[in-house]
């Protein structure tokens, strides 16, 4: 039979199942197929912190949302058009997000009386009419998979576990995804278990064939490739982009990369990734704790390496004293905070932006550090290079604030040419100086010389005790301390001259309302701004990559609008700083739900402010 093919400009799919069902892998594979096909895309993994939460329960549900389109898109999408629910818990946890008319693909094998009761369904929702507003496709995915694999020499359990590949095959057929890369992926993943490998490939192909032959799906969909600027592309997550950015900074500075890190969600993947790249001379040190991790990084910096530590908010709290030592000794250090919901342990796998004030002020004494934040998963690459550039040039710790959404989310990335990346000059102090002064500053940057051990004639001692201006000898002189406090602050403030002015997106210059964001909210804000403009209203958008120091033109930008909205996934931390710094009463929009903003909720907020 010939099936109808319908054209769509964009689709949002959410795969949801038990945390052991392989939903993240399924989503990843669908993403890779989609990237290879040339769509623009954006992803939102959402999973519990527990490795294997109790099976079939609501807290155990793991999901992966993917938005792909034939044009450039900015977010993983507000609401899915298609939900794949592998069990009743996945249905119950996600059905509330589905708009009327959405497609719902359900694995009926798991809808047993017991499984339904476990999540509080009194009646089977597939039978009681409660899903009538959706296009429900009830499919026995588990039993179809087991049947497709009956000729393989594998256990029933292993056959059942391949149901995610059956589902992936079906969805790949439904949206005309290329399948070769997934077959290749399975060949590598299960190379040591050939029978399992063949079974998973067979399940994947069975899912595809089922789509082609079944009458459950009379239509399949095409989403044409997006027209993006010419170049080489790959899909990249925020954590991967940070790891690559750090390697790039190492190559472009000639400084060996030393990562001191302690495993913590959601930052551990940076450690995992960097540990694979020893051929770049990368040293990865899994320390005994967060303090040792940053300490070792600072020790490596003292020795002339590019010292880096990666963590999340609780780790920053532990590293504070060492970051302060980095401020006092004026050594380069890159500190990456992949923010997660807090306080304390909070919600480790959920995103948040509530470490801004900790990054800015979370140390004893006057201890200013530059703070930068990437806007999108792929922007993590350039922001990591920028953090390293500032750290090396100004001899200072720099804090980079990523977040859980950027870390695990992914999008296509135009691979930059190596020659287009900034060159970073370590400008080490050279031997042969009479009366070397370790704290004599460069008059332009106020940076001190970086004299590394092994340089003859420059032997010196540094430490956390206040130092005399110039000589660096211990000093308790009151006026010297006042001078040093001000010099350290002036050095950081002066970086504003060395960063790009804040760009404002205000197409015809007539907007009276500005939306100012920072970090991982960029996509949602930009999508909301588009919607406002489509509806005929005018709004300007600006997004801060540099949070300390601010770009030099920030105050001027803020003052040129009647109203400034600052959406943040915290209770108003940037807003507090802006009010304190500029006495401008910005309007905060704050939700702290562990999830990224939705474009529509921000559009509503902007609309309200425009109309008020």
């Amino acid at each position: 039979m010939t099936k109808q093919v319908r054209q769509l400009d964009r689709v949002i799919i959410r795969f949801a199942g038990d945390s052991g069902d392989g939903m993240q892998l399924t989503g990843d594979r669908f993403t890779q197929e989609t990237a290879a096909f040339g769509n623009d895309l954006s992803t939102l993994p959402n999973f519990p912190a527990e490795i294997r939460a109790p099976a079939g329960t609501l807290p155990g549900v793991s999901s992966f949302q993917l938005h792909f389109a034939d044009h450039d898109i900015l977010t993983p999408g507000d609401a899915p058009n298609v939900l794949v629910a592998m069990n009743p818990a996945a249905l119950k946890a996600n059905v509330g997000d589905l708009p009327r008319g959405a497609d719902l693909i359900v694995n009926t094998d798991e809808f047993t009386k017991r499984a339904l009761a476990k999540v509080g369904y009194a009646a089977n929702p597939l039978e009681d009419g409660s899903l009538d507003e959706y296009r429900v496709h009830s499919l026995p995915l588990t039993s179809m998979t087991v049947k497709a694999l009956e000729d393989f020499d594998i256990s029933k359990k292993d056959a059942e576990r391949a149901k995610n590949m059956f589902a992936l095959g079906l969805l790949s057929w439904l949206y005309h995804r290329p399948t070769e890369a997934t077959v290749r992926f399975l060949e590598v993943k299960f190379a040591k278990k050939p029978e399992i490998m063949k079974a998973n490939i067979a399940a994947f192909q069975a899912g595809w064939s089922y789509g082609e032959t079944t009458e459950s799906f009379s239509v399949s969909y095409e989403v044409k490739p997006a027209t993006l600027p010419p170049g080489l592309y790959r899909n990249i997550s925020g954590n991967m982009a940070l790891a690559y950015g750090l390697i790039a900074a190492s190559v472009r500075s000639g400084l060996p990369l030393f990562l001191g890190s302690y495993p913590i969600t959601p930052a551990s993947d940076i450690l995992h990734e960097l540990s694979k790249h020893k051929r770049f001379g990368v040293r990865t040190f899994q320390a005994e704790d967060e303090i040792a991790a940053v300490g070792a990084a600072l020790g490596a910096s003292f020795g002339g390496a590019l010292g880096v530590t990666t963590t999340s908010g609780p780790g920053i709290a532990l590293k504070a004293e060492t970051i302060g030592l980095g401020v006092a000794t004026e050594l380069p250090l890159v500190v990456i905070d992949v923010q997660r919901a807090g306080p304390s342990t909070g919600m480790p796998t959920k995103t948040e932006q509530a470490d801004l004030l900790q990054a800015m002020y979370g140390r004893n004494g006057e201890a200013p550090v530059p703070v930068v934040a990437p806007a999108t998963p792929s922007d993590c690459f350039a922001t990591a290079v920028e953090a390293a550039r500032i750290a090396v040039k100004y001899r200072t710790p720099v804090i980079l604030l990523s977040d859980g959404y950027l870390a695990n989310g992914s999008e296509p990335w135009q691979v930059p040419g190596v020659d287009t990346l900034p060159q970073i000059d370590p400008a080490f102090a050279q031997p042969g100086q009479e009366d070397f002064q370790p704290f004599k500053r460069d008059p332009d940057t106020l940076a001190r010389p970086w004299a590394v051990p092994g340089t003859p004639g420059l032997e010196h001692r540094i430490g956390g005790i206040e130092k005399a201006d110039g000589s660096g000898n211990i000093s308790y002189d009151p006026d010297n301390h006042d001078l040093m406090v001000r010099l350290r602050q002036a050095k950081i403030d002066g970086i504003a001259r060395d960063v790009a002015p804040l760009a404002v997106d205000d197409p015809d210059g007539e907007a009276r309302v500005l939306v100012l964001g920072w970090g991982g909210t960029y996509g949602a804000i930009a999508a909301a701004v588009r919607r406002i403009r489509v509806s005929g209203d005018k709004v300007a958008q600006a997004h801060l990559r540099h949070l300390n120091p601010f770009p030099a033109n920030l105050e001027e930008v803020l003052r040129s609008y009647d109203k400034v909205i600052v959406p943040e996934i915290n209770l108003g931390q940037l807003a507090l700083i802006l009010r304190g710094r500029f006495l401008i009463d910005v309007i905060g929009y704050n939700r702290v739900r562990g999830l990224p903003f939705k474009a529509e909720e921000l559009a509503d907020v902007i609309r309200d402010v425009i109309n008020s």
Binding site: P229, P230, P453
Partner: protein, 343 residues
């Protein structure tokens, strides 16, 4: 066995103790044991003949941790307890440096206990000098994790309650490959231990009994008093029978229960000290002879075994990765994985 100093450049000029002194005024209390240790270290380093710029002293916080300011080498006076961590990053990324950590009983065993044990188990190329005076000096006289139970101090007017650490036992338990004890006032012995420590491949922990004449004077008096010291000090010499006493009439032997017992020197089965024994149990038993009353206290090298250092293993992984895959190519890395081209 790898020489940890093989990659550290040598100074063709003859050095003297004076070369290692800085222009900074030494600010320990008059009579402090730290002076003797500083002089012993400055007197010993010329023996190694390393370029001064390739030697680094890293310290934490406390009286002893002022040490780097007085050494004309590179140095960092860091954070309370964190010197082993900072030195680990430095030593594991710079094989051309000789890295020393100076720490005290509070710094190393209380606030920095975690970093100490992990440095020891990793066997990073660090030489850790632990000045043990059994008291907090810089904060003016609170009891420390090596103070004896019942210690009356400012923070324990009715006596301290917690049992002390024995640093030697702790280090052996933490898989240390080199563990030694010496005394601030015995310069010859101190320098002999430094000599072995400096050339040991991996982490060397040297406990130095150090007198704080202000807050805990005479803490080690039985080991220093000419009338008692020979009777209570057991000088461990590798390959030699463990005989001690003013008249060298006492010796150590393993009892039936496995612990050590003091017997007359002419008894059969007197222990011969073997610091290189892979089994640490005898070294541990020796460490347990020490007691707050100093009935008999071993000094010298308890343990000195061969084990690859963390930094050379780390370097080997990098060298092998480069040998097998070639040096990193940034353009190839960025363009790796599933890519597609838009024309």
């Amino acid at each position: 066995m790898s020489d940890p100093l093989a990659l550290v450049p040598k100074d063709p000029e003859r050095q003297t103790a004076k070369d290692f002194k800085t222009d900074q005024e030494v600010r320990w209390c008059p009579g402090c044991g730290d002076y003797a240790i500083l002089a012993a270290v400055q007197g010993f380093l010329p023996e190694l003949g390393l370029k001064r710029e390739n030697i680094v002293f890293v310290s934490g916080i406390g009286c002893s941790s002022r040490f780097p300011y007085y050494m004309n080498t590179y140095g960092m006076h860091s954070i309370h307890g964190r010197a082993p961590a900072i030195a680990t990053g430095l030593a594991s990324s710079r094989p051309d440096l000789s890295v020393w950590v100076v720490t005290g009983d509070g710094d190393a065993l209380s606030i920095g206990g975690n970093h100490l044990i992990h440095a020891l188990r990793r066997n990073v190329n660090l030489k850790i000098l632990l000045f043990n005076n059994r008291i907090y000096g810089l904060t003016k006289g609170q009891y420390s994790p090596t103070s004896e139970v019942g210690k009356i101090t400012k923070s324990t007017p009715l006596g301290s309650l917690d049992s002390p650490f024995n640093p030697i036992s702790l280090a052996i338990g933490a898989e240390a490959s080199f563990v030694a004890r010496t005394i601030d006032s015995d310069r010859k012995h101190l320098q002999s231990v430094l000599r072995e420590a400096a050339t040991h491949n991996g982490t060397a922990l040297v406990e130095i009994y150090q007198n704080c004449n202000i807050f805990n004077d005479d803490a080690f008096a039985p080991l220093k008093n000419p009338e008692t010291r020979d009777d209570v000090t057991i000088r461990l010499e590798h390959g030699e029978p463990i005989v001690f006493g003013a008249n060298r009439d006492k010796a150590l032997r393993r009892s039936a229960s496995g612990s050590l017992e003091v017997v007359p020197a002419d008894s059969p089965d007197v222990l011969v000290h073997d610091a290189t024994n892979p089994d640490p149990s005898l070294a541990f038993a020796l460490s347990r002879l020490d007691s707050p009353t100093f009935e008999h206290t071993p000094i010298g090298i308890f343990r000195n075994v061969e084990r690859p250092s963390y930094d050379e293993l780390m370097r080997t992984q990098i060298d092998e990765a480069i040998a097998q895959q070639g040096p990193g190519d940034l353009a190839a890395l960025l363009g790796s994985g599933d890519t597609w081209r838009i024309d």
